[in-house]
Symmetry: C2
Subunit: 205 residues, 2 copies
């Protein structure tokens, strides 16, 4: 597919660099932008330059935020003695939509995955330890995907946090093994938070 | 889904404004951009601002181009006496990839569709008439989709161009190469019987 314009080619390449978008779809999206008002496309592009320029990570929980401390961490209504450890922001959105959890979060930024070259040092585990030392926390809830990487990370965190005097629980495996948090329905996910289990209980199974 | 950042929200909205992309996919794509190098995302955005700033429509055929006259229109190797009328640039890419056509094109920019509020005046039909008057053209090939809108546009063009001394043809409609008769729909099969060709005509190709 030889496009007749360098700029068209660059725009198609930009779209095609996104996951799940092939060159044919990329061309369709680019032509859609060209059919719209020029100003609309400029605003489309600005949304991304402003995104990288302005979006921050919360200094406490590493969630995406416009401020140094995110709305959840700074809310007086949240229970500061609970920290729910999740992989990324989408998991927070999923858990928030269940309305079953009123504690704080900690975004790991990934899962331990030797296959993908992600080790514990690539995650925000040190920062989680710091939080637990500085702040009075009664319970850490591990809410990671029920995948091999999630289990590995659960186990690593359990070992790592054991010296700290804190209860460690995992969300109940009401969610199907192999399912990802983001795609779990709200009721199942809500129940699985309510039915969280001491980590030791899950070891024997 | 309440996003914790205005800039994140804007970026997700921008992706979700594209056809076929919902909010969940939009968020996935946005987080993908955030995981990449900042510079990469800035380049991603620049591809679109540069697109609207620089891409033009060829003054002859209305194809997208970096120059006033596109590469096909300005090529000395193309047969100027043939003009193939297509809906948009994707049709040119499809026809070019067959390597069976060496004439010029004319991009209508759409099809007549009263349902979508697209009338003849919204298309580049006046410009096509001008080309036919200024330039010696022996044949106009109508290569539009075999849909109701395509047929309507074909018929409109046929009537409109009738006063001009030029042959008007449409691309052959019939069963596709490799198709089995049994599975071909009745209308296509009926048309292909009505529009049967002398066998000799098919031999030389």
């Amino acid at each position: 597919m030889n496009l007749p314009s360098k700029y068209l080619e660059n725009a198609v390449e930009a779209f095609a660099s996104l996951p799940g978008i092939g060159r044919r779809t990329a061309l369709r999206l680019t032509l859609h932008l060209l059919k719209k008002d020029k100003q609309k496309t400029i605003e489309f592009a600005e949304a991304f330059t402003e995104l990288v320029a302005n979006v921050k990570r919360c200094k406490k929980c590493h969630n995406l935020s416009d401020l140094d401390i995110c709305a959840i961490c700074s809310s007086p209504k949240r229970d500061e003695s609970l920290i729910c450890v999740v992989e990324d922001i989408r998991d927070i959105l999923a858990i928030e939509s269940t309305q079953q959890y009123r504690g704080l979060y900690h975004v790991l930024g990934g899962l331990i995955s030797p296959m993908d070259g992600v080790g514990p040092a690539d995650l925000t585990i040190a920062s989680l330890e710091e939080r637990l030392q500085q702040q009075k926390v009664s319970e850490v809830i591990l809410a990671l995907s029920a995948t091999m990487e999630g289990d590995t990370t659960n186990f690593y965190l359990y070992r790592k946090l054991a010296p700290i005097n804190v209860n460690i629980s995992t969300i109940a495996r009401g969610i199907g093994i192999g399912d990802e948090l983001e795609y779990t329905d709200e009721i199942t996910l809500g129940k699985s938070i309510l039915n969280r289990q001491p980590f030791e209980n899950t070891l024997s199974k």
